[in-house]
Subunit: 229 residues, 2 copies
Amino acid sequence: LIRIENIHKSYLMGKEAVPALRGVSLAIERGDMVCLMGPSGSGKTTLLNIVGGLDEPGRGHVTIDEEDVVSMGEEKLARLRLEKIGFVFQTFNLLNNFTAEENVEAPMVLLGALSKRDRKARAKELLALVGLADRAEHFPSELSGGQQQRVAIARALANDPAIVIGDEMTGDLDSKTGFEVMDVVRTLNQEQGKTVVYVTHDPRMAAYADYTIHLLDGVIVARDEDPQR
Amino acid sequence: LIRIENIHKSYLMGKEAVPALRGVSLAIERGDMVCLMGPSGSGKTTLLNIVGGLDEPGRGHVTIDEEDVVSMGEEKLARLRLEKIGFVFQTFNLLNNFTAEENVEAPMVLLGALSKRDRKARAKELLALVGLADRAEHFPSELSGGQQQRVAIARALANDPAIVIGDEMTGDLDSKTGFEVMDVVRTLNQEQGKTVVYVTHDPRMAAYADYTIHLLDGVIVARDEDPQR
Ligand SMILES: Nc1ncnc2c1ncn2[C@@H]1O[C@H](COP(=O)(O)OP(=O)(O)OP(=O)(O)O)[C@@H](O)[C@H]1O
Ligand SMILES: Nc1ncnc2c1ncn2[C@@H]1O[C@H](COP(=O)(O)OP(=O)(O)OP(=O)(O)O)[C@@H](O)[C@H]1O
Ligand SMILES: [Mg+2]
Ligand SMILES: [Mg+2]
């Protein structure tokens, strides 16, 4: 479903080039639940942004569903992201002037497939799924860090995407709430066949994955399979 | 050193009052390393903000070094925070238009105790302490999530505060980097006698503390001592 081949990415800062990815290749099958781990600064966010079509590699190919993402037109790529990819950002990126419920509704408004009433109902459902039914009317500044993270997760699921990309989905959550979120994500993976690619620093959350990819200094250094797969 | 007595805090939202702290009392001795844990939304950030003089309780007393923080004048409180308290925010709160080094220097500029040359040298030292010597010239948007978190830690240490308050100091860090940061903090606690109060969701990071306070729905429900203390 997602194929990345020999991805290179450097950030240019004045005269300096900071290499973030130095030759990464990965093939993710439909329905896989894949964990990505590695030290701070090893290139995980950079890789997820490229996998999710939010950023371009300097070199290499990215195909999603057989389509080349890098050479795809702007509009087509935006449509792909809106319909097929749900992204949970490491820094949440919530809209500060909109309530939790409105933040979750936003991707549905952009897609335009549901009536206003159905959107509101679905937003409430998704918030309930992450334990925030009673926080629907709060603005991000009126939510705890872990509550903001959960709104970001609910929003990523808004358009029922085939692919869920989570750049830290549980970093601000206590263990119990973190397990509840991972249970929800695993259910979506097992019952609806959603493909999930997520970063975590917590080995207990990595345990939910079919396999774990280890990144170090911009290259993949290991891959652990779940022994019970 | 830090005494809080029967703290109550509610947030007012229109007609609704959201109770965040419902009667919390705590006495922290000079040189303690205290961990605060609890579910997402249980009131940890609210409590740390009150302990750090960044927010006021609705009811109850807060004294730091025998001085009542709530009735203290604005200017005196600002001075106390600048000189004695280093705060690591859950959302980092870095200045986006300043480099990592400038962010770390900022509290020193405000305090005005060091020369420009000494400030720069100290900022570089602190960044090296958290493994970011080669990222001094990067802006926050040019840093990974975990690197931003570490700049926030370095900045909290800028004025060599007697009290370090960390609202998640390792949530965006891989285990190895997380342990390195906690080693630095523990050294500051054991060798310089700094008082440390920190929130974590990771039991392995909680293990560094002399004792752990458990918060649930705005009240303290348990306190675990480190058996080897
Ligand atoms: N400005 C606000 N207005 C209304 N409610 C608020 C506001 N800030 C926080 N709250 C609520 O107060 C409660 C405590 O929030 P707090 O940020 O202290 O939790 P926390 O323990 O730090 O959680 P986390 O682990 O998720 O960071 C939460 O239920 C939150 O929704
Ligand atoms: N815009 C940028 N300009 C320059 N360098 C950058 C930029 N963004 C990221 N980097 C650098 O690229 C490297 C990879 O960053 P990335 O955000 O992918 O790391 P990460 O693995 O997600 O780390 P973390 O676990 O801390 O979130 C880092 O060393 C970082 O300093
Ligand atoms: Mg990252
Ligand atoms: Mg918090």
